[in-house]
Symmetry: C2
Subunit: 163 residues, 2 copies
Amino acid sequence: MAAENANLSSSLEDYLEAIFNLSKESNIARSKDIAKSLGVSRASVTGALRVLKEKGLANYKPYDYVTLTETGRPIAAEVAQKHKILESFFVDFLGIEPNIAQEAACKAEHTLGPGIIAKLLCFIEFVKHSSKNGCDLADQFEKFCKKQTSKSAGKRDSKNGAE
Amino acid sequence: MAAENANLSSSLEDYLEAIFNLSKESNIARSKDIAKSLGVSRASVTGALRVLKEKGLANYKPYDYVTLTETGRPIAAEVAQKHKILESFFVDFLGIEPNIAQEAACKAEHTLGPGIIAKLLCFIEFVKHSSKNGCDLADQFEKFCKKQTSKSAGKRDSKNGAE
DNA sequence: TGACATAGTTAGGGTAAACTAACTATATTA
DNA sequence: TAATATAGTTAGTTTACCCTAACTATGTCA
């Protein structure tokens, strides 16, 4: 856990993550693509890059490609990993729609500390382990959920449920 | 799920939640106490109350106690419920320290939509159900975690683990 | 009842993040 | 190589927070 420093805002973490992902995908992170992937204007990207450079997290020269510094990369990687873990928990275990899960992971990745993320990762392993042993937890949970919701739907029908 | 409207910022949701909790605890929400519970200045509270009044969520008159409107109350209740569910998941299942869990819940309650929260609640029920049936999931998970961490600690010792 | 403490408000400022519009640099291609 | 399109930057604005300091209202008790 080399990162966890720098007191970055959610917004700056998003920029780091975007640069990290683009560098992986296309070997190069361009301002335009960062803007697109985060849904912000190109001007906003320029502003963020200047801040990241000041903080020593990104190598930024006007009109050039962006790369992460040795300091910035592990921080970006950690954010990206948090995202991955959350998304996997939401989709593979909770059964959330992928696009909703993706969006939620994107927000929650900035609010959950390393302790919680580590436990979540452990939980994902735990679920995998269970399915190898022939008692698939994700499956059992899914069935349990269905039972619950049909129960409460019944309640609502008969009692004209509150909420 | 009567709430989920109003496009509130995290900050405004926090104010609503604080008013909701104080009204429950002391039957009355005072500016000073809202400020204290959120760790902001009294002036910030005044500002937020004006916005909440504008949005029709709080009954606010200068120099008077604050109450929630019929519109505001269910929204506040939902935020508070999200908080409770998250905290319970973190503490009772993941085994996170209460103060860390409390803080994380406070942040994450604004980022996770009703779908995810509902599933999480369902999961909490699922775990309770399992313990009644004599196979305590929380317990099994805790043991699994301990095994995992001691394994990876071993790895780190022998390989001088990266990360 | 008037002085003092406490609570609440107002005014004025700061910062972070976004935007648009206009400008500059770079790349392409005829 | 000049014209044009695309990419990136700069300047100026806006919004949403938060803050402090100074003011006003309220309540208490001698």
